[in-house]
């Protein structure tokens, strides 16, 4: 296993470093809290579970401060370490599955090419899909944006007198804010994916596109369930929690008036929709009530059924490191006496298709592999991005919805490129992150202080004499300033890191001394 909770002797992490005897040997500190000697000796060091860190603060249209939320996540070490280890484990399993498939890189290239072809002929394939779906007896609707999607869904429910809706996980309905909308018009929505249901009960957005509650410890879930479905707050046994949830939700599913699913792939040639789940909850949502509505982003189209094989082989291997999802369900048409509706949603996708540098982000199949591999995401939590989509793919999609609000997100990356390498449809994610930074600077959506710093850097670095003086002064300054001047809140480098020791002389002056005769 990759993540070892107990470091070997002689190696202290910031977390273990906090559990240490102070100088007098009598007092123990943990996570900044002083414990007296008797208490420390007689009890577990921590009696109450670590509180779940919450996501980014949303303040209207103001830029999300991802770094601030990430710092709070890291300040909750049990959450951060669990999150990092759990997602790294998915990445690890993905690598293992990749090794089993000799043609892995060919599959990625094929998937990328199929998406590229489809997206560049999207109008044709959408019309084919519509015609074939209608031929199968499905009602097809078109929604320009989130509001129209919600109105259409509400209209269908109203026509059937439906008051309750069970649904499987769908990032598109998250994007449309459908749950809030339905609450405002008095329709009860019940999520049937376990993780999504946890998030719904906690009134919190999903933090990951595949594993929506991955940022929660089981003690967090126990707290949520105790408040909402009446479980024992001190029992965080996962089997107990899952079973309790099943008992609480099953009657709601059986009584629901309507069901909803998202869509992983919409096949133009057959007019059918494919949904991949591990809990079988899409089948419950679609098959128990007589009315089934599927919300479909227009980029989900693939031309023919045979192309599905390429994507199904890639999807779960990339997402969870499993060969295939437990359920791969295909929906063709309404059953006898029932109705099926497909809602095709644009919500900014056509506009994105027209963005020269960013249109290939529409190839995304929402596997979450880029999130699992992203070292920043793993240490920040998905909610730190304050957006529907988080992690590397979120960074390049979110600014298309709102460049100002999400203007900090493309900077929440080291540009390490691991996301691009794991992407099953070969989106050049890290290059698009880089391109977004340029774009946001062009649109003046970056903080003033950064502008000033970068302009100044550009001035110094393009003038050799000024630069030479600056290097000399920096060394002299670090050499002579007292520690508290270097390590204070204003020097971001020195908050959690040491500043390098300045050498006796710069390379430049060494060269002058030792190779001075050279031109």
């Amino acid at each position: 296993m990759s993540s070892e909770p107990i470091p070997p002797k002689g190696i202290s992490t910031p977390e273990t470093a906090q559990v240490r005897a102070s100088e007098d040997g009598e007092v123990i500190y943990r996570h900044g809290q002083r414990l007296d000697h008797a208490e420390a000796a007689s009890k577990p060091l921590r009696s109450a579970p670590e509180k779940q860190p919450r996501g980014a603060r949303i303040r209207g249209n103001r830029p999300i401060d991802q770094a601030e939320a990430a710092a709070r996540f890291i300040a909750a070490p049990e959450h951060e370490e669990m999150h990092d280890a759990r997602l790294w484990d998915l990445r690890h399993k993905r690598d293992r599955e990749m090794q089993v498939i000799p043609e892995w890189e060919t599959l990625r290239a094929l998937a990328s090419a199929i998406k590229e072809h489809t997206l560049t002929h999207l109008d044709e394939y959408l019309e084919q899909f519509e015609a074939h779906a209608q031929g199968n007896g499905v009602h097809v609707h078109w929604a320009r944006d989130a509001a129209e999607h919600n109105r259409i869904v509400h209209g269908i429910l109203r026509d059937h007198g439906a008051r309750s809706l069970i649904k499987s996980k769908s990032m598109l309905t998250e994007e449309c804010g459908m749950r809030h909308y339905m609450a405002s018009v008095g329709i009860e929505v019940i999520e049937t994916d376990l993780g999504e249901r946890i998030q719904q009960l906690d009134n919190e957005d999903p933090s990951h596109v595949v594993v929506p509650a991955v940022h929660k410890l089981r003690t967090d879930v126990a707290e949520v369930f105790a408040k909402t479905i009446g479980t024992d707050p001190d029992n965080s046994d996962v089997h107990y929690l899952a079973e309790s949830q099943r008992e609480a939700t099953r009657p709601l599913i059986l009584d629901a008036d309507a069901g909803m699913t998202g869509c992983n792939f919409a096949v133009a040639d057959t007019g059918t929709v494919t949904v991949c789940t591990n809990e079988g909850n899409a089948d419950l949502s679609a098959n128990v009530p007589k009315l089934h509505i599927a919300s479909i982003g227009i980029e989900k189209i693939i031309p023919r059924l045979e192309h599905l094989a390429v994507f199904v082989r890639l999807l779960s291997r990339s997402a969870l490191g499993s060969p295939i999802t437990q359920y791969t369900s295909h929906f063709r048409g309404p059953r006898e006496g029932g109705e099926m509706h497909f809602v095709l949603v644009d919500n900014g996708r056509s506009a994105r298709l027209g963005m020269e540098e960013f249109w290939t982000s529409l190839k995304c199949i929402r596997c979450g592999a880029c999130m699992n591999t992203c070292p920043v995401y793993r240490r920040s939590g998905g909610l730190s991005y304050g957006a529907t989509y988080s992690g590397p793919i979120g960074i390049i999609i979110d600014p298309t919805f709102n460049a100002r609000k999400y203007s900090n997100l493309p900077f929440a990356s080291t540009l390490n490129g691991s996301c691009t390498n794991v992407c099953p449809v070969k989106i050049n994610i890290h290059e698009q992150i880089y391109a977004w930074r340029r774009e946001l600077v062009k649109q003046h959506e970056v903080p003033f202080v950064k502008k000033v710093a970068m302009k100044a850097a550009g001035e110094v670095l393009s003038r050799p004499a000024v630069y030479r003086a600056a290097v000399a002064t920096a060394n002299a300054a670090i050499d002579h300033l007292p520690r508290f001047v270097i390590y204070n809140g204003l020097n971001a480098w020195g908050k959690h890191r040491e500043v390098p020791n300045p050498p006796d002389q710069s390379f430049h002056s060494w060269y002058q001394q030792n190779r001075g005769e050279k031109p």
Binding site: P8, R437, G458, S462, H496, P500
Partner: protein
Amino acid sequence: MRIGLFIPCYIDAFFPKVGIATLELLERFGYDVTYPRDQTCCGQPMANSGFNAECAATEALFVRNFSGFDYVVAPSGSCVHHVRDNFDAIEQTDEVRAVRARTYEIVEFLHDIVKPEAFPWAKFPHRVGLHNSCGTLRRLRHAKASELREPFFSKPLDLLSKVEGIEFVTPARPDECCGFGGTFSVFEERVSSKMGYDKVSDHAKAGAEYIVSADTSCLMHQQGCAERIGVPIKFIHIAQILNGASA
């Protein structure tokens, strides 16, 4: 063959030994190496932050300094990546394109151009963990990245294996970014430093005495992290080992 030596700003100011080792190593192989005195930087700090216009003057200066050499060699993967792949704030004249195409990182220059049989002067009887920086690994393609299904190769390991006495250890997450990320290290300092803590701890757990890398910027960050949390590990640039540094 005339080589222009490019010593990036932070190496010039903080890690002159890395520059000296690179220079001496190239001289050992008989190259005529010149360090143009007016050089400063490649423009990467501004470009990575999205400020492309702000790096035009710096890029132009870089071209003035390094035009006319057969090769430009630098001990820094990320700077070479910028010059080769992103250096587009200025007009792409023939001269600019030539400088960009001839700029090499020291490991790939040795491995692909010099192709040395041995480093007879080098001995390094220590356990080292290799840190392939993201710039060298995934952009310059120094080695196989763990995410890709392709045959194993590693230019830095090929070179280091020729050093007497060296022993390699492998951390649990060999490819994981260390969190430096240029200006990321200050604008997202908490995530950056946490990634650094995890990186140096991973190497230490694997038993490394040294972390060796072709990117001094990653090492500077990791060293700052290791010192802060008390991980007893040392840092050295690959050029220093290849040039015969003893410890």
